[in-house]
């Protein structure tokens, strides 16, 4: 149990009457890079949002680093977590969005410093130092003073990755991080993610970049209609999909 970073057991999630996740079972080991693929509307974003406490699950159990998501268990009773405890758990999980969601009124370095200063109460000097190192790491040492509107999509996404890393997360979630980018900018972002994986970060990556999934991913999950249809090693799933739905999806993206 404790050796897993993420464990999902029969996770269900509904919005009103529409059931979006219909019993998800997953395991992510520390240091693993799991890639998640699947058609639009299959529930990939919702799954990531559940892992990051942005949505409450309706049934099943979800653990991150051995702790239940959204609840505490005392005896056999579940208690909902308070806002403050949820916020504290989110600090340990980094999230990168398809549309970057950088704070437009702050420069790149201010974006990266914001949470360490406001949430972790790091000193500004310390947070700035760390932010500068992270921005250098993602190849943006010369853009620290730029506002998001002055950066290309690829640069914005790399700032967003640095912003998430500034909280020193133990798990990083990526929701189609390159889908909103011009093709020639995708490579820079993937290179940063590749390096992160090489450094041993545990990552769950929703992506349609099959090259990345094959080369960097330790496991590949194919979701459709709110269930995990197939999972396994990326090479095997891509080369020899077992299910018809996986085959027809792969035929479209490859």
């Amino acid at each position: 149990m404790t050796e897993l970073m993420v464990k999902a057991e029969g996770v269900h999630k509904s919005f009103g009457r529409t059931e979006v996740l219909k019993g998800i079972d997953l395991e992510v080991r520390p240091g693993e890079v799991m890639c998640v693929i699947g058609p639009s509307g299959s529930g990939k974003s919702t799954l990531l949002r559940c892992v990051n406490h942005l949505e409450k699950i309706n049934a099943g159990r979800l653990w991150v680093d051995g702790e239940l998501v959204g609840y505490t268990q005392k005896g056999d009773k579940l208690y909902e977590l308070r806002d403050r405890e949820v916020a504290r758990k989110r600090q340990e999980i980094g999230m990168v969005f398809q549309r970057f969601n950088l704070f437009p009124h702050m420069t790149a370095v201010e974006n990266v410093m914001e949470a360490p200063v406001q949430v972790k109460r790091e000193s500004r000097a310390e947070a700035r130092d760390h932010a500068m190192r992270l921005l250098t790491q993602v190849g943006l040492a010369d853009k620290t003073g730029s506002y998001p509107s002055q950066l290309s999509g690829g640069q914005q996404q790399r700032v967003a990755i640095a912003r998430a890393l500034a909280m020193r997360p133990k798990l990083m979630l990526f929701d189609e991080p390159t889908s909103a980018l011009d093709p020639e900018l995708v490579g820079d972002v993937l290179a940063v993610m590749r390096q992160l994986a090489a450094d041993g970060m545990t990552m769950v990556v929703v992506t349609h970049e099959m090259g990345f999934a094959r080369e960097v991913g330790d496991s590949l999950v194919f979701m459709d209609g709110g269930v995990v249809v197939e999972q396994g090693s990326p090479r095997e799933v891509i080369a020899a999909p077992q299910h018809e739905r996986t085959r027809s999806f792969l035929a479209k993206v490859l």
């Binding site: 942005l54 437009p104 914001e114 998430a164």
Partner: protein, 277 residues
């Protein structure tokens, strides 16, 4: 740039004609302002800095600043309540806005002024229990307090809608990103959402402030006095109505001009990261 284009620009005879007409009209106006004795510029000059007028001006400023402060703080509070997931808070704010926007501000001013008739004594204590401290309402609600309550609480209802519009204009992805970083709700509002909402909030707030500058003249109904009351008192004695109205107009225009400049500065500050696109 080796061969710059030389072309005959499009002619705009209409613009020239309109410009000429306006110039002539402006010259006529300026001429009459100077030559028409009825303007009594000497009287204007004499009263522009008279102590009564300056006192009134001071009250106008104090009332405007304090009422807007109450309005803005109250407005933010009401907007957050209105957007809250708690239905009781949301409904309370909606009811407040309905009540205070739905009645004339003059009615509210008089209401606060005559509150003593409804509740002769106001006390501090446990609801439905013993009272620790009790004061005569008339001594607490002097014209100044009634003016502040009347103007400020009314303004809060209008500001609430302005702030709410501003908050709703901020992309939800901003809140989501901040939540994912572990920021608390209060921090997200203060550090992420409000600073971005400001771009939408400030222009109408400037309008509200300028409008408040002039609305303060309503406090005459509760026997408080400000700039407009001051000049009215003077011209009812010396019958120099036009010159004294000009005195008031000059001061209002001056204050409005200053506010416009200040508003521009503030707008520029909150446009950072956006205007540079």
């Amino acid at each position: 740039m080796s061969n710059p284009i030389k072309a005959v620009p499009v002619r705009h005879p209409g613009r020239w004609l309109a410009g000429a007409v306006i110039l002539v009209l402006a010259a006529m106006l300026a001429h009459s302002l100077v030559t028409n004795e009825n303007f009594h510029w000497d009287v204007v000059g004499k009263y522009l800095t008279a102590s009564n007028v300056l006192n009134g001006l001071k009250n106008t400023l104090i009332l405007t600043v304090l009422s807007m402060a109450i309005g803005i703080v109250g407005g933010i509070l009401l907007a957050v309540m209105r957007l809250s997931a708690n239905p009781l808070l949301s409904w309370t704010a909606a009811a407040y806005i309905w009540l205070f926007r739905g009645t004339p501000v003059i009615t509210q001013l008089l209401f606060w002024f005559f509150l003593a008739a409804l509740y002769p004594r106001l006390g501090l204590g446990i609801p439905f229990g013993p009272t620790f401290l009790s004061v005569d309402t008339n001594s607490l609600i002097a014209p100044f307090t009634a003016a502040l309550l009347g103007l400020g609480l009314n303004e809060a209802a209008y500001m609430a809608e302005i702030v709410r519009g501003g908050i709703l204009s901020v992309d939800h992805g901003q809140t989501e990103a901040a939540e994912a970083l572990g920021m608390s709700r209060a921090k997200i509002l203060r550090r992420i959402v409000l600073p971005q909402a400001m771009r939408v909030i400030i222009p109408p707030t400037g309008n509200e402030t300028i409008s408040m500058l002039k609305t303060t003249s309503l406090v005459i109904v509760i026997a408080y006095f400000e700039l407009m009351t001051a000049v009215q008192q003077i011209y009812s004695r010396n019958f120099q109505t036009i010159p004294l109205l000009i005195v008031a107009a000059i001061w209002y225009l001056l204050l409005t001009s200053i506010l416009t400049v200040v508003q521009g500065r503030i707008e520029k500050h909150f446009a950072r990261g956006v205007a540079t696109r």
